[in-house]
């Protein structure tokens, strides 16, 4: 796979320069997000911008696209004639005009319009009539045939799959004659197979002269799909290498700045079943919230992984195990007893701790203090209230203990929670979940958006809970994480849950195929 991309490599140095990022520095208050970053791109280049969360990748691309203005440095883009021209800072319109197209991680599509209409937005004169649509149509069709970005352009975007929406985004950029395409974490929402398809398209486009920058923190895809790799760490460009000469360990070290300590999972023998789902159905408003007769079991001293591309029913499963939704059919057993009442409160008091997927949205009340958020799940506890009245001393002492024990960096128990960094917010949630020694922990994407240090911390805490006899369900899109932490893996696809078996007997490719909807038997044969 990697070999075919490297062929293009040799021509890069000869191809004309299309983009020159020169000495970019950007500070936000005391934080330096980018420090003297310089990067040169040639026509047909596929450059991976690699770095941890918070390394400054997105800031750099936002400067390129005019969302931010750099404190120092400048950006030069090749004009139509090929000569490098200064790109006016702080103007997305100027970036668009200069032929820079960006596909954001969160799609910028109007879901009530069709793909075609989304592409046309802003292209036609706003107060004019809809004219020249057939010419536009022909141009798009040609781009589609040339690139292989096939997608139904006449249905509302809301009914497209995530992969199809991404294609519409890329078509938007290509329709505007983008010569430089920036893809921000493009594979975060794709199956391994879809990612593979995307990279084939990228390679095809690059061969036709498009320059591509893709932002990623996933080593294996960077190695597989780029010509060159630029590594950012702490806002500084710490390495620039051709993919052909790169080796995994070396890049990982460049990216993190030290050797990555792998979390070690000691073998343990699982105990009694803690949670058992038997043919449980949940019907939701859309596919993401629907489960079709799923069955699973989780035992004491066991970490069970749920692999799958986001949007395949994981949120329905998480809501079910959090007590937020009631199953339509099937049986849910917790510690041997059938569950009849589905509410977050009963689930919590039964001993289920939940780390929600979106910590800002579901995990904490940002406007309330750290002390309040630490107590919010156990308000009726005698430490926190008596006869309906709050006990502020209880809040304070409890918060001070948790801040100490979990190393939550904040200005104190009264700090507004929204000011905490992602990692510290997650530590707050972990403190809340773990202090009641839950029998089952549901960790839904617990390390998303965290840097390596915070990730390791979360992993350590989850494994420690397992050693303390707890059962852990880990929902993750990150196969690396699943393969290091879990004892067994289930794969989720389109509301179905397939048992993939013990992790040690699995290989990535098989799990990837199951994520795309192939059943375990078919994969094995």
């Amino acid at each position: 796979m990697a070999g075919q991309h490297r062929k293009a490599q040799a021509h890069d140095e000869l191809a004309p320069v299309v983009l020159k990022i020169a000495g970019i520095t950007k500070r936000f208050g005391a934080l330096t997000a980018n420090e003297n970053v310089s990067l040169t791109l040639h026509q047909g280049d596929v450059v991976a911008l690699l770095g941890e969360n918070g390394a400054g990748k997105t800031t750099l691309m936002n400067i390129l696209f005019g969302h931010y203005v750099a404190d120092e440095g400048e950006i030069l883009v090749a004009g139509a004639a090929g000569a490098l021209e200064h790109l006016p800072p702080g103007s997305p319109q100027a970036a668009l005009d200069a032929g820079i197209g960006m596909v954001h991680q969160h799609f910028t599509l109007a879901e009530n319009l069709t793909g075609f209409e989304n592409i046309l937005l802003g292209v036609e004169p706003i107060f004019g009539l809809a004219r020249g649509r057939s010419a536009a149509r022909a141009k798009i069709e040609k781009i589609v045939t040339d690139s292989g970005l096939a997608v139904d352009l006449d249905t509302p975007v809301s009914s497209l799959t995530v992969g199809e929406k991404q294609r519409v985004e890329i078509l938007k950029a290509l329709f505007r004659d983008a010569r430089i395409l920036v893809l921000d974490e493009p594979t975060a929402v794709l199956t391994p197979q879809e990612s593979e398809g995307l990279f084939q398209v990228v390679e095809k486009l690059a061969a036709a002269g498009l320059t591509v920058i893709f932002i990623s923190h996933k080593l294996h895809e960077v190695l597989a799909a780029s010509h060159r790799i630029a590594v950012l760490r702490g806002g500084v460009l710490v390495g620039e290498l051709t993919t052909a000469d790169a080796d995994r360990g070396k890049i990982a070290e460049l990216m993190v700045g030290r050797e990555v300590p792998a979390s070690q999972r000691s073998p343990m023998s699982p105990g009694a079943a803690v949670l058992k789902l038997d043919e449980v159905k949940v019907s939701g408003s859309d596919a993401r919230r629907t489960l079709h007769a799923v069955s699973m079991v989780v035992h004491e001293r066991e970490v069970v992984g749920i692999a799958g591309v986001a949007g395949n029913g994981q949120s329905a499963l998480a809501s079910l195990i959090s007590g937020l939704v009631e199953p339509e059919a099937g049986r849910v057993e917790f510690c041997g007893d059938a569950v009849t009442t589905f509410s977050p409160r009963t689930f919590m008091s039964a001993g289920i701790g939940r780390i929600p997927e979106d910590r800002h949205h579901d995990g904490v009340v940002g406007a309330m203090t750290v002390a309040e958020n630490l107590a919010i799940e156990t308000l009726k506890d005698a430490r926190f209230s008596q006869n309906g009245f709050l006990r502020f001393n209880g809040f304070q002492s409890h918060a001070l203990e948790a801040i100490e024990a979990f190393d939550i960096r904040c200005s104190g128990p009264d700090a507004p929670t929204r000011l905490l960094s992602g990692g510290n917010m997650q530590k707050l949630i972990l403190a809340r979940v773990l202090e009641n020694a839950p029998k089952l922990i549901l960790a839904n994407q617990p390390t998303r958006g965290l840097d390596v240090g915070a990730q390791t911390e979360v992993h350590k805490r989850l494994l420690a809970a397992r050693e303390r006899d707890a059962a852990v369900i880990l929902i993750s899109e990150d196969l690396d994480e699943l393969f290091t932490l879990t004892d067994r893996i289930y794969v989720m696809h389109a509301g179905n849950l397939d048992d993939a078996g013990p992790t040690d007997a699995l290989d990535r490719a098989a799990v990837g195929l199951m994520m795309a909807g192939h059943s375990a038997e078919a994969t094995a044969s």
Binding site: V365, A367, L379
Partner: protein, 357 residues
């Protein structure tokens, strides 16, 4: 080019100053129509201040006017904290007033120490029911409570008019649509002889104290704030969002209902269909000016009451339409909204070219 930057910590000084700045801004803006109407600004505003605070009588009038405003302001503050947009204070006010005359005009006999609390309870319950309905529709059918409470204001007023034309009509009223008078045992006494300010003020102040305690020191207040700030996280943490919403509705409606009751049994002594000059709507302004703080509600009620009383007095003296008061109040609401914005954001002037700060 200007750019807005969120402040990491909202400035406390600004938060305290904002309502005053908003008031100043509202008065300055209201000067434009005043000048356009050909009035002398200093004379007009001078007369307003004098009319509202210039004598013991004037101040008593202002406090009398502030009494229902404190309650409707608290009603809005509690509901808005939970992000329940109760714009139906006016309707709930009339429900409270209606309950007061149903219970307090002789239908139930008893001594004052029984009857006054009973009437207040009846008024509070009626107001509570008036908001629980829309809140239930919101939680059950996702019906926008703003529109339902607004429409209910019209419906309730028509119910009151119907009652006053029919079964509640005082046969001695010579054809005027008004209710029978409240019996003496159900009346809130005046606080001072010869002044209209009545014991309803004490009820209002007590309510402000209770709401302060509820919001800051109780589990209910905690849950209410959590639901208002982030309902998803609250639900996730095991707080019943719908239950909390209904509780907030009950408290908010009860407070607005109490306002109507207090106005009937403390001031007017009977019910007419024009007993409220918009106390329910003004309560929204009061609450916003107070930045939803119960103590602040007391202060801002006195200010808004002063504007109304002062404008009436000025209107009588120099013939400026007393709708000026409504204009000032509306401007104060919009100004305080903008002021709230400046607490959360810093406005940066980046020069005409939009360079970098």
């Amino acid at each position: 080019m200007i750019r807005l930057e969120p402040r990491t910590t909202p400035s406390r000084t600004l938060a305290l100053l904002a309502p005053f700045a908003a008031v100043a801004c509202a008065l300055a803006l209201a000067a434009i129509p005043l000048l356009a109407a050909g009035q002398n600004l200093f004379e007009a505003y001078g007369l307003m201040v004098k009319g509202a605070f210039g004598s013991a009588f004037a101040f008593s009038e202002t406090l009398t006017r502030a009494t229902p405003l404190i309650l409707t302001g608290l009603a809005a503050a509690v509901a808005f904290r939970a992000k329940l947009w109760n714009i139906g204070g006016e309707g709930q006010f009339y429900l409270g007033a209606l309950a007061a005359v149903i219970v307090g005009t002789g239908a139930v006999p008893g001594p004052a120490w029984v009857l006054v609390p009973l009437v207040l309870l009846a008024g509070a319950s009626a107001g509570a029911i008036g908001l629980i309905g829309p809140a239930y529709l919101k939680t059950r059918f996702k019906t926008d409570e703003v529109v339902t409470t607004l429409l209910l204001n019209f419906i309730i007023l028509l119910i009151v008019q119907m009652a006053l034309q029919g079964w509640l009509k005082d046969p001695m009223s010579l054809g005027w649509p008004q209710s029978e008078p409240i019996v003496d045992e159900a009346t809130l006494p005046a606080l001072f002889e010869k002044y209209r300010v009545h014991a309803g003020l004490l009820v209002s102040l007590a309510a402000a104290a209770v709401i302060t305690i509820v919001m800051r020191h109780t589990v209910l207040g905690f849950e209410l704030r959590a639901v208002g700030e982030n309902p998803d996280a609250a639900r996730h943490a095991g707080i019943s969002v719908n239950g909390t919403m209904l509780k907030a509705a009950a408290i908010s409606g009860a407070l607005a209902g109490l306002a109507g009751t207090s106005e009937v049994i403390g001031l007017k002594g009977y019910l007419t269909s024009d007993i409220s000059p918009g106390f329910g709507y003004a309560g929204i302004v009061v609450a916003m000016l107070a930045r939803l703080s119960p103590v602040g509600v007391v202060v801002s009620s006195i200010f808004i009451a002063g504007v109304f009383v002062g404008a009436d007095s000025m209107s009588r003296a120099i013939g400026v339409s007393s709708y000026l008061a409504d204009l000032v109040v509306a401007l104060a609401l919009l100004s305080v909204l903008v002021a709230g914005f400046s607490i959360r954001y810093r406005v940066r002037w980046l020069g005409l070219r939009g360079g970098e700060a």
